[in-house]
């Protein structure tokens, strides 16, 4: 099962197995990783699973679609590497993925 390292804004790391087909947001919520809320449950409707994807992983995570780009308007401290974790579906190609969390989701 692919592994994801979630890095909190304070540097705390959570290494978690996330099943293929699940999302990076679900992986965090199911494993009680703080810093990713996922209020809407993965509908791409709340901007509370905002993460930063390091540039070396960006390509493998795919491009955000228009809806995701729009919803990111509501996230805080948005940067070019910002994504919504509910829109990144796990695959074996993402084994070893590192995602960083912003200081706040609200």
């Amino acid at each position: 099962m692919p592994r994801v390292t979630y890095v909190e804004a304070n540097g705390t790391e959570h290494v978690v197995n996330v099943p293929v087909g699940s999302t990076v947001m679900q992986g965090a919520v199911n494993n009680l990783v703080p810093g990713i809320e996922g209020d809407c449950g993965g509908l791409c409707a709340c901007a509370t699973c905002h993460v930063y994807i390091p540039s070396e992983w960006a390509k493998r995570c795919g491009e955000p679609d228009e809806l995701e780009t729009n919803i990111l308007d509501f996230a805080f401290d948005v940067r070019p590497e910002s994504r919504l974790a509910c829109q990144i579906t796990m695959s074996e190609a993402l084994d070893g993925l590192v995602v960083r969390m912003p200081v706040r989701q609200y």
Binding site: P19, N30, L32, P34, E37, D39, C40, L43, A45, C46, A47, T48, N70, I71, L72, D73, F74, A75, F76, D77, V78, Y106
Partner: protein, 388 residues
């Protein structure tokens, strides 16, 4: 600036109990009703013609274009984002409010946005507090050294912590939503099910380990594991949920077995020694006496728990000797407790009132400068002394 709205529209909007804004497509405020002025502290005259950004403010780091979102929401009034996305309103005195909004397009062809706002600041904060408390409590349970398994009313597994994964050899994702029976040996399932039913109906909200008998779990490898459990039930909306804290009692049973075995071995050696041996605590109270010592003292004398110097064998021939013998014994025990090894020849009176000459020693058992116990040993040399 409310000129585009007719008088009757204004009367209607003014009377709406929801805080309501009318915003033009250029982002300028056309109208605020009374509920909105009460919510934000501004009045209509102050804000009419002002950009909506005066009261709906993007947060630091947000790239929010409020007018673009009003248009999106007006186009799709059933949009799921209307439930989850909130705007931040700023009151006249600078206070920030979380606002849940609904947007409708009011007139065509010139679009006006009718925006109703609901203050969800307290609601959102409570929701976050609950989530954060849940996160903290869940992490506490996740790292518990006891296996924790939760069940819903149908006895399906809803929580399975790390220790439970280790104990049962299943991963949480493989058991969540599945029946509890998969963690029980076949021949225990019916009885265990009846126990849960009785617990559900019973008056007691919880039962702790030690208050109930052991149960048996089944691992993924088919091994049966004796377990002790604390259980609790919580009824939510009339439906029960169950939680069990489980502990594998094999290590404890093994430790108990080893302790009994070790004690039996000790007792065998202790009782087969030729010498009379007494084990004393550091204050001089008798903890144990071996067979030889018991014989010397007299079979029916209980020594355990008494001070060593108060045992009847120090009885001398007369009152004075007896007092002195006891004082000496007490003094010697006290010196041994301080770490000294003592060896001397003592005269005792045995259980049959015979005087015995004893080659007697007191040795402290010490660790890290502290006396744990004192070993009193005596060899009966009456016969040898008599020959001399």
């Amino acid at each position: 600036m409310a000129d585009v709205l007719s008088g009757s529209d204004l009367v209607l909007l003014e009377a709406l109990p929801e805080a309501t804004l009318v915003v033009a497509s250029d982002g300028r405020i056309r109208f605020l009703n009374r509920a909105a002025t009460e919510l934000l502290g501004h009045d209509d005259a102050e804000l009419a013609g002002e950009p909506v950004a005066r009261i709906i403010v993007p947060q630091a780091g947000q790239r929010l274009d409020v007018v673009a979102w009003l248009a999106r929401w007006a186009d799709d009034p059933a949009s799921p984002q209307l439930r989850y996305l909130t705007l931040t309103g700023r009151t006249r005195n600078g206070q920030q409010l979380r606002l849940s909004v609904r947007v409708a397009r009011l007139f065509q062809p010139e679009p006006l946005y009718l925006v109703t706002m609901r203050d969800v600041t307290a609601e959102q904060r409570e929701h976050q507090d609950v989530r954060h408390a849940y996160l903290v409590m869940s992490r506490i349970l996740a790292i518990s050294d006891d296996a924790i398994v939760n069940l819903d009313k149908d006895r399906n597994i809803t929580f399975f912590n790390r220790r439970a994964e280790q104990l049962f050899g299943h991963r949480a994702e493989d058991v969540l939503g599945r029946p509890l029976d998969m963690l029980l040996p076949l021949h225990h399932r019916a009885r265990h099910g009846a126990h849960i039913d009785a617990f559900e109906r019973g008056k007691s909200p919880s039962r702790l380990m030690g208050e109930r008998g052991e149960i048996v779990g089944l691992t993924s490898a088919g091994e049966e594991v004796p377990l002790e459990a604390s259980i609790t039930k919580v009824f939510i909306d009339g439906e029960p949920t169950f939680s069990a804290h489980l502990r594998d009692i094999r290590p404890r049973k093994e430790a108990e077995r080893q302790l009994i075995e070790s004690r039996e071995r000790f007792r065998t050696v202790f009782d087969h020694a030729m010498e009379a041996i007494a084990l004393l605590d550091p204050r001089g109270k008798v903890l144990e006496l071996n067979e030889s010592a018991q014989q010397l003292l007299g079979a029916d004398v209980v020594a355990e728990g008494r001070y060593f110097w108060e045992l009847p064998w120090w009885h001398g021939v007369g009152e004075r000797e007896r007092a002195e013998a006891r004082r000496n014994a007490e003094d010697n025990v006290s010196r041994a407790a301080d770490g000294e090894e003592i060896r001397l020849r003592a005269e005792l009176v045995d259980g049959r009132s015979h005087r015995r000459v004893i080659d007697f020693s007191l040795r402290p058992v010490r660790t890290e400068g502290r006396t744990l116990a004192i070993v009193a040993e005596g060899r009966d040399i009456t016969a040898i002394v008599g020959r001399d």
